[in-house]
Amino acid sequence: MKSLTQTLQDKGNFIGFTVVGDPDFDHTVEYVVDMAQAGADVVELGIAFSDPSADGPTILSADQRALDNGSTTAKVFETVAKIRQKTDVPLVFLTYTNIVFKHGYEKFLAQMQAFDVQGIILPDLPLEEQGEFLALAKQYERDLIQLVTSQSGDRLPAILKNASGFVYVVSSLGITGTRQKLSNEANQLIEQIRQYSNISVAVGFGISQVEQARQFPAANAIIVGSAIVDIIAQHPHDAGPYLTEFIIKMKEAQNA
């Protein structure tokens, strides 16, 4: 299995997001396989939370659907096991700190290792609170993905010191969700990161269109969440072809 760093070494990579259990657990397995076959280089799996504070209405609704379907941490790992029978695409989790905290940081990381989930994004675990989790993540050789925003400023060197796997550059202020227009701010952030580190950079938040896929040529990857969740919401039981078409189109734009 390649590490996230190796996977995302070159430019033009695509990271697709889906919430585990939306529309149901079997379809999650199917859609992760479809996304990997369509060219997704990494798949980000959302573990539903009742109050996803960094997420907009699209992902909030998906989380709610997954919870209505009985999403639990145990059920998520069960689903990951099924995914692993079918694809070795690198996986990262996205969830909120309470989910991991209640499961137990160490137990959670041990299971990530056992099921080969390489990294985790915890939007509500900033630099100041990472100590305990990060030490354990290193022990279990898992990546705690660091987020960098236009507000980070002089926090950047400290954030990069904690970084492994890749760095998640937040393209714009606010919460997740598709946006008609995105500023080029992320490109400046990538330049700033490059002054300190050669770590791979993925840009996310608001990316849904081919023009936006072309907008961040310096990034190693783009992360697309809400647009994929929207496709699954529109075609809950037969999203496969639509996901494939979308990912191929986006990757072509990235690599044009």
Binding site: D51, N98, V100, E128, Q151
Partner: protein, 396 residues
């Protein structure tokens, strides 16, 4: 982490998105600067005295005391403050910091509407823009306060996500802040959230116990035996406790909303039923599933209808300095009616939870002992809802 000023024992911290960390740290820096600044202190003092009507009275409720036949009950009358609740103490402090930081827009969550009204009031006074986030269910049950905020010039957003109550209003306010950071200050209304908010809210609400301590010494020659306050997030309670924490002879009791009972799923009794978790920027006690999903909660009181509690309360309980007890909807409504008839005071349904426990506690104590109950707000806002609860059909 015991030496970390952001923590109370194991509780507290700053569990918020990286996007907001610089803004929150900027607030912390400003708070520590201005709390030492004599000009800020005299401006705030002037506002508290001449605008908010402080000090609030410490009133000996003789009728209740006699009728209950035990300890003497004293009411700390935060209901007599301008805007009718303790919320103004904190809002004036935070809004003044915001103004000095050069912020031009205040945002706030509100449950019962009292904190929203106080924030809208400060925004009007300081000529600032104001937006309030309130759960859709609460805009319905506290419609009068919605109109009051609008009269004061605030925009009120009804939050339709999640359970549509206080918890969701807090989520929405944090989300608004991530979209507009530069000119905006989040005036958090309870002793919850990421550091420095629990510390800052306590600091501004401590005026309650600072006054009360002196008033007890002046009026009775000694300290109270017990201090009671209702607890949702816990701002009036932490303000009521703060200046008595170092007096071990003063019992500190927080009263939380049991809703239809702590053994039902219609409750907001975090201390009775919760467990440690991480939510709304803090590590504290929360009502949640074993898997970490935040529970929907219920109380007749929109102000106590919250699945968590401020981190310092969790700490005070752990070190056995304060205790937390539940009061049900029924008990609170009974206390609401009781104090109206006994003392001629219509108390907020939130505060009525504290009164309900005082009614149980007083008869177990001697007449030479004394209890302070913080009357955190007035109950005019609750009259219509209580009438409905009692099955009375009101027409205005």
């Amino acid at each position: 982490m015991t030496n970390d000023q952001r923590y109370f024992g194991q509780y507290g911290g700053q569990f918020i998105p990286e996007l907001l960390m610089p803004a929150v740290n900027e607030v912390a820096e400003a708070f520590h600067h201005y709390r030492q600044d004599p000009d800020f202190q005299s401006e705030l003092k002037d506002l508290l005295i001449n605008y908010a009507n402080r000090p609030s009275l410490l009133y000996h409720a003789k009728n209740m005391s006699k009728d209950l036949g035990g300890a003497q009950i004293y009411l700390k009358r935060e209901d007599l403050n301008h805007t009718g609740a303790h919320k103004i103490n904190n809002v004036l402090g935070q809004a003044l910091i915001a103004k000095k930081m050069g912020k031009t827009r205040l945002i706030a969550e509100t449950g019962a509407g009292q904190h929203g009204v106080a924030t809208a009031t400060a925004a009007a006074l300081f000529d600032m823009e104001c937006e309030i986030f309130m759960g859709k269910e609460d805009t319905d049950r506290q419609a009068l306060n919605v109109y009051r905020m609008e009269l004061l010039g605030a925009k009120v957003n009804a939050v339709t996500t999640g359970t549509q109550v206080l918890k969701d209003a807090v989520n929405a306010t944090f989300q608004d802040w991530t979209q507009r950071i530069d000119d905006t200050f989040y005036v958090l209304g309870s002793a919850v959230g990421p550091y420095p908010f629990p510390e800052m809210v306590k600091y501004f609400q401590s005026v309650i116990s600072e006054e009360a301590r002196q008033q007890f010494l002046d009026q009775t020659g000694r300290l109270p035996d017990a201090v009671l306050a209702c607890v949702g997030g816990g701002s009036n309670a932490i303000g009521s406790f703060a200046n008595f924490v170092d007096d071990p002879e003063v019992q500190l009791i927080g009263v939380e909303a049991a809703g239809k009972g702590v053994d039902t799923d219609q409750t907001a009794a975090t201390m009775a039923r919760g467990s440690i978790g991480i939510f709304h920027g803090m590590k504290s006690e929360f009502l949640q599933s074993s898997d970490g999903q935040i529970d929907p909660v219920y109380s007749i009181s929109a102000g106590l209808d919250y699945p968590g509690i401020g981190p310092e309360h969790a700490y005070l309980r752990d070190i056995d300095r304060a205790q937390y007890v539940p009061a049900t909807d029924d008990e609170a409504v009974e206390a609401f009616e009781y104090i109206a008839k006994q003392e001629g005071i219509i108390a907020a349904i939130e505060s009525s939870h504290a009164l309900a426990y005082a009614m149980k506690l007083a008869p177990t104590m001697r007449p030479d002992q004394q209890i302070m109950v913080t009357l955190s707000g007035r109950g005019d806002k609750d009259v219509a809802a209580i009438a409905r609860y009692k099955g009375v059909d009101l027409h205005e």
